[in-house]
């Protein structure tokens, strides 16, 4: 299945057949209630399956966005009708939804978002643009954060919508970047959204976004990625004999310890979810910790492999089929997306340590 076709430059790594195959078996939404197409399993069991899928190298961005973020959102705040309409096809792998929060002027500062939704008597008209979203080109719906009124504060008056992406007035354009997954720029020019597709309370989306964001941050997918990168590097060091150099062994052992500690943090969050007592500060710590180790692994790969590590999978002679080169392109985005490292540190400092300006 791998092969050059799949890995061609600008070819999205998502595997639609595999995704639907998993959906048919009920392996996408294992933690959801059975009545919505889920498996009724616990967060721990869900995490075990996610870990195995990631370890097998199955691209997970569609899964993370559709099931783990939007699906969870609907479970938290959706109406009965919304859950019945959207969740089962999502669980079957037939419906893909992307997350559309970020705007050109609202990145870390989501409260600065400017997309507007205007009530026109029987529905909402969306105007605005969303940027840097992943998998939107594959999605039928987008979870959009938009302003429905000017509030007392910038965090008031934000509402969430499930907006159809095949509707008139939606323009989805690629924003090519150095990673293997394309960014999208989505422009809404008066797109009509049914009031039935408002998720959660009108004007009151801010808190919902934050609740969902922290649940998004178990860090499991990050940990598995780090494990795969580092295991590949250690395996290469063993095979080439470099591991017998104590400086190399020591450095890899230190990284291995960090990855293992990251795993412990991640599973701590998962068990908190299981008990329904999530600690937001610990979730921020897990996200920060597991993603920051990425750049150190990438650096170690370059130091150990030398210039071999800069060869891409398209070169044909790259070690580990170009994994180190791909990791070098992927690592910077991990400490930016889903909450930058700076925002994580701010949460830890402010909410965890009580350090506020």
């Amino acid at each position: 299945m791998a092969g050059l076709e799949r890995s061609a430059p600008r070819r999205e790594p998502h595997l639609p057949e595999v995704y639907r195959w998993l959906g048919e078996r009920g392996w996408l939404a294992v933690s959801w209630p059975v009545e919505y197409g889920g498996g009724g399993r616990s967060p721990v069991e869900t995490a075990i399956l996610s870990e195995e899928m990631a370890r097998a190298g199955i691209p997970d961005t569609v899964h993370v966005n559709t099931i783990q973020i939007v699906g969870l959102f609907l479970l938290l705040a959706g109406t009965e009708e919304q859950k019945a309409r959207f969740l089962p096809p999502m669980a079957r792998g037939e419906l893909v939804v992307s997350v559309l929060y970020t705007e050109p002027n609202a990145g870390s500062d989501l409260g600065a978002l400017q997309t507007r939704a205007m009530f026109d008597g029987d529905g909402y008209l969306l105007y605005g643009s969303k940027i840097y979203s992943l998998t939107t080109q594959l999605a039928q719906y987008g979870l959009v954060a938009a302003r429905t009124r000017g509030g007392q504060s910038r965090y008031d008056g934000i509402t969430l919508f499930l907006a159809p992406l095949d509707a008139r007035g939606v323009d989805v354009r690629p924003l090519w970047n150095i990673t293997d997954e394309r960014f999208n720029e989505v422009v809404f020019d008066g797109v009509w959204v049914d009031p039935k597709n408002v998720v959660g309370d009108l004007h009151d989306g801010w808190e919902l976004i934050n609740t969902a964001l922290s649940i998004e941050r178990t860090g499991l997918d990050y940990y598995v990625k780090m494990r795969r990168w580092l295991d590949t590097l250690i395996g290469r060091a063993r095979n080439t004999g470099r591991l017998s150099d104590p400086l190399v062994g020591g450095r890899l052992a230190a990284l291995d310890t960090e990855v293992e500690a990251g795993r412990a943090m991640v599973w701590n969050i998962i068990s908190q979810l299981e008990r329904d007592e999530l600690d937001n500060v610990e979730a921020a710590m897990a996200k920060w910790y597991t993603t920051e180790v990425g750049r150190h692994i990438v650096r170690a790969a370059q130091d150990l492999e030398g210039l071999e590590a800069v060869l891409s999978r398209w070169d044909g002679e790259a070690p580990a089929d170009g994994l180190f080169e791909a990791a070098f392109r992927e690592a910077p985005g991990l400490t930016i997306s889903a909450g930058t490292s700076e925002i994580m540190l701010y949460l830890i400092a402010a909410a965890g340590l009580g350090l506020r300006e």
């Binding site: 430059p9 150095i178 960014f183 370059q302 150990l304 030398g306 210039l307 071999e308 891409s312 002679e317």
Partner: protein
């Protein structure tokens, strides 16, 4: 210790800065980059005319000695040139060619190539060392990684050389390749390797592009029974260790200057962005968590920059700079990788897009940081010389 630049150097720097500002805009530079995943046979996008214009401004001439047709401004001038090239993220055979020029001038047996120096000074002739097989091959001991030479029959005194050299910088662009060859019947291992300078188009040579994250010009060169003779001798075996070590140290100082320039530009871009980009109602650069990181990088870059000038000056005075040059190359290699990674972090997702500058600096830094030895190898080497 005087590390101020004289008037000539400042003039050289401003001339080059103007040249790049006019002729090498980010848009032009991006057009000269192949797309991600380009093939081994992808066309060479190196602009020969631009290179000649660069040379006409004295880019190579400045550092070459007067007797070689140069301006005699020494390694200091070459570091000024390299730093400006780094700021512009201009990939060219500047450093590679100057290293070969240093080998010609080393008195190691390459006198026959002296007429080439005027051509080198004018940019009309370029060369690059082709010394590695693997990406982690050490560069400091050519005898460890030298190609094997076999004596050709009939007492012709000629050799046949076979093997593969990879990660040859600008390998598809240059006119000449410098190779290290282990002689078949030489004496002790330490003096059995000679350096030869051969035409890239010589029979038996096959050059193909390597696809690297920097989207630059790295090449893999396959040599099949390539004929090499006395006429190609660049450095005699008994001179290799000394001449090569000196030339490598000087190349590392120039590379360090290139990386300083690259880092400075990445920092400048980021400082500018941090002043303009507003989040939470203020410029992100007004947050200390951003500002102090930028300030620390500025200080580290300045430290490396001053050390590069200092080493250039010491080398021009005849001092042995092998150890500090390896140490500085390691330091700037790490600095460039860290500064460009921080630049991406501070720019956020925008910095990762194809049309953004920060990702280009990040990708190029990875390659440039290792071209003259990986930081790990360089530190080890400097440690051995302590």
């Amino acid at each position: 210790m005087d590390v101020r630049l004289g008037d000539e150097m400042r003039l050289l720097r401003s001339v080059l800065a103007r040249f790049f500002a006019q002729s090498w805009s980010p848009e032009t530079a991006r057009r000269a980059e192949p797309p991600m995943g380009a093939q081994a046979e992808a066309p060479v996008l190196f602009d020969g005319e631009l290179w000649l214009a660069f040379a006409r401004l004295g880019a190579l001439e400045a550092g070459l000695p007067v007797e070689a047709g140069g301006a005699g401004l020494g390694l200091t001038a070459a570091t000024v040139v390299a730093e400006e090239a780094g700021r512009a993220l201009y990939q060219s055979p500047l450093n590679e060619t100057l290293m070969v020029a240093d080998l010609i001038l080393s008195g190691g047996g390459g006198r026959r190539f002296e007429p080439l120096l005027a051509e080198i000074a004018g940019g009309r002739l370029t060369a690059t060392p082709a010394l590695r097989l693997r990406g982690d091959d050490r560069l400091d001991y050519p005898e460890e990684t030298a190609l094997k030479g076999l004596v050709e029959g009939g007492g012709s005194g000629r050799l046949r050389v076979g093997g593969t050299r990879r990660f040859v910088s600008l390998g598809r662009v240059v006119d000449y390749l410098a190779i290290a060859v282990r002689l078949p019947d030489a004496g002790p291992a330490s003096a059995s390797v000679a350096l030869y300078l051969i035409d890239r188009r010589r029979a038996g040579l096959e050059v193909r592009r390597q696809d690297d994250v920097g989207r630059g010009e790295l090449a893999s060169v396959v040599l099949r029974e390539v004929a090499v003779s006395e006429d190609d001798l660049l450095v005699r075996p008994d001179e290799t260790e000394r001449a090569y070590a000196e030339a490598l140290a000087r190349a590392r100082v120039r590379q360090a200057a290139y990386l300083v320039g690259l880092s400075r530009q990445a920092l400048d871009l980021t400082v500018k962005y941090a002043k303009e980009r507003e989040q939470f109602g203020r410029a992100i650069g007004s947050f200390q968590s951003i500002a102090f990181r930028l300030a620390a990088m500025a200080a580290r870059i300045q430290a490396a920059r001053l050390l590069a000038w200092n080493l250039a000056w010491r080398s021009d005075r005849g001092e042995d700079i092998r150890r500090p040059a390896a140490g500085l190359a390691a330091m700037t290699g790490e600095l460039a990788r860290e500064v460009t990674a921080e630049s991406l972090q501070i720019h956020g997702s925008f910095g990762l897009t194809e049309e953004a500058e920060p990702q280009r600096f990040y990708r190029r830094a990875a390659v440039e940081a290792m071209l003259w030895g990986t930081p790990a190898e360089l530190k080890e080497e400097a440690g051995r010389l302590l």
